[in-house]
Amino acid sequence: MNLVQRCQPLLDVLRDPAHMATLDLAGWDLLLRQAGAAGLLSRLAVQAETLGLDASLPDVVRPHLTAARTVAAKQRQAVRWEARRVAHALTDIEGPVLLLKGAAYAISDLPPATGRLFSDIDILVPRAQLGQAEAALRLAGWHTQKQDDYDQRYYRRWMHELPPLTHIRRGTVLDVHHNLLPETARIHTHAGPVLAAAQALADLPGLSIPADTDLVLHSACHLFHEGEWGHGLRDLVDLDAMLRAFSLSPGFWPALLARAQALNLGRPLYYALDCCRRWLHTPIPEHVIAACPSQPPAWQRPLMRQLFDAGLASAHPTCRGRLVKLATFILFVRSHYLRMPWRLLLPHLLHQALRRNREQN
């Protein structure tokens, strides 16, 4: 049984939510656990409600979905409020302020927003405005957490990012970026075109979100470059939802490929398209995948597929294969390797390991 086969019934339901109507109690028992571990239960719960399935569900299942919907609804309200406060704080910043990922989906009611769980808010500002943005946010109550000097250096000097900001009263977390990938990353991409193509939000003056193609590309490069495979499947679901919706617009596929070329994000896009098709049966025309820029060499693909599959399946014990631990470790190392050159990486990993050791003793 390969990994994709092992993650049933979750994959069946993700591919076709109406499948929930056919599950027996044993199936529901497993689905709730797999979906819960993958951060996707709320999404399924909202879809069940939308499809009118709720009334015909087994009585013992219904409370779980009610609870899951409650959590998502609260988070959605919180993200929207937080985005407003961010807009308010950054009113005087020159240039666009873009909401990224989850917050962007929530504010614009895009397909990935359905039942999505959020943690931090990510925004993108022009590099030149980073200092001003940080100052304005600090005035409005967002501060860097008490981190040691090392962390501050890691973020500021090496990754050229601000450390995460925490709001002093609300406790919410804000990540301020000036590019889609860290500056030290092996793949270099440009923020300029993304900022230029931003779509302003009508009901939130001062805030924008990336263009459709850029939302997809950012999600792809985030998933396939970061080490956060805990919600890898959720991120893949975001991608699938966007691709299905955006591809209804004529010209979307060629625009996506051209944009991947321009932003130098062809590689992560390739992985995203390949995984979406295999895992979630996203309807992607064959010629689109074939025409994807910067594809990995053929010999590398089976290995990368195995690694990514292991990462995507890692959420729940019933989905994991034997080698998942090794695979997720390799992916973790890979994400760091992609993020920074060796001369920075090795001391960094050593420092992190020592710190974890200190905290445990």
């Binding site: 044993a26 571990a37 609870a67 014990p317």
Partner: protein, 300 residues
């Protein structure tokens, strides 16, 4: 079938095989554990509880040794909910207490179709008293004593408020006692069944009182809230009730609830409805028999 229908050997077997599903109020939990102390505790305190033979469980938990070398040095155990461990490992002789904390964690962390307050709740003559209360205020002692003198226990820790009708839903699980209150209850109720204590936990010495058969049998009955009472044990104090501001009670229950914030506007409405339905009181006492008398009068 009830848990008490199994022999200890059968119970141990089923726990070790991950083949035991226990119903506690609205929840069915499958428990996996090779630890003898867990089987002992369950048999002693959960004999009246029904076992569930169905294919759907609300929670899947395990209490057992963590992987790794430590298991041979100083025996430890940990709690997992569906493969995820929310706590740090504890000494092996705290296994039953860890199970109880874990079961609370499962409910408090997931059952958001209820508003969940951090409070004890008991019912008598069709009306329920809710005890929010800070740790160390004598709430658990009072809860155990009321149950042992005939009040129906819904919960000693988590008050579940039904979002559709505002009624209270019970779990009827064992009452957790700490330190001195264990002896107080033993002396006042010599027939009470109390589990083996766990010493040197982060809360001191912890033991659990078996829930009354009536409480377990009637766990499916929801209860109508009538009183919110903030108890406080104070040396030499006569047992007496005095008024407590409802706005203050609202804020207290909200800030100590497990999911008030998470429920958003609904949490506000449910908590407010609770305050509307109840009179709020402070309660001071020192002698248990005085306290029981005051509550008997309240419920009459």
């Amino acid at each position: 079938m009830k848990l008490g229908d199994l022999s200890l050997a059968q119970l141990r077997h089923r726990l070790a095989d991950n083949d035991l599903a226990l119903r506690t109020g609205p929840f069915v939990t499958r428990i996996h554990s090779p630890i003898p102390q867990v089987a002992d505790g369950l048999l002693r305190l959960y004999a009246d509880f029904p076992l569930d033979a169905g294919e759907f469980r609300d929670f899947h938990v395990r209490v057992g040794p963590p992987a790794g070398l430590r298991r041979w040095l100083r025996p430890q155990i940990n709690f997992w909910h569906d493969g995820h461990s929310p706590f740090k490992p504890l000494p092996a002789n705290h296994a039953f207490a860890l199970l109880e904390w874990g079961l609370n964690w499962c409910v408090a962390g997931h059952a958001h179709h209820y508003l969940m307050l951090h409070a004890a709740v008991l019912e008598k003559n069709g009306r329920a008293v809710v005890f929010p209360g800070d740790p160390g205020a004598g709430k658990s002692t009072l809860t155990a004593a009321l149950m042992l003198s005939g009040w129906r226990l819904l919960s000693d820790e988590i008050t579940l408020v039904d979002r559709d009708d505002g009624l209270l839903v019970g779990l009827a699980r064992p009452v957790s006692l700490k330190n001195a209150s264990i002896d107080v209850i033993r002396r006042a109720f010599p027939d009470a069944v109390i589990g083996a204590p766990a010493y040197d936990t982060h809360k001191g010495t912890v033991a659990h009182v078996r829930p009354s058969a009536d409480s377990v049998a009637r766990v499916g009955e929801k209860a109508r809230p009538a009183w919110v009472v903030f108890p406080r044990w104070r040396e030499g104090s006569p047992a007496r009730l005095s008024p407590h501001s409802r706005a203050d009670a609202f804020l207290h229950t909200a800030s100590h609830a497990f999911n008030y914030s998470l429920l958003g506007g609904l949490g506000f409405e449910l908590n407010a409805a609770l305050m509307d339905a109840c009179t709020c009181h402070d309660f001071e006492y020192s002698r248990l028999d005085d306290a029981l008398r005051v509550f008997a009068e309240l419920a009459a």
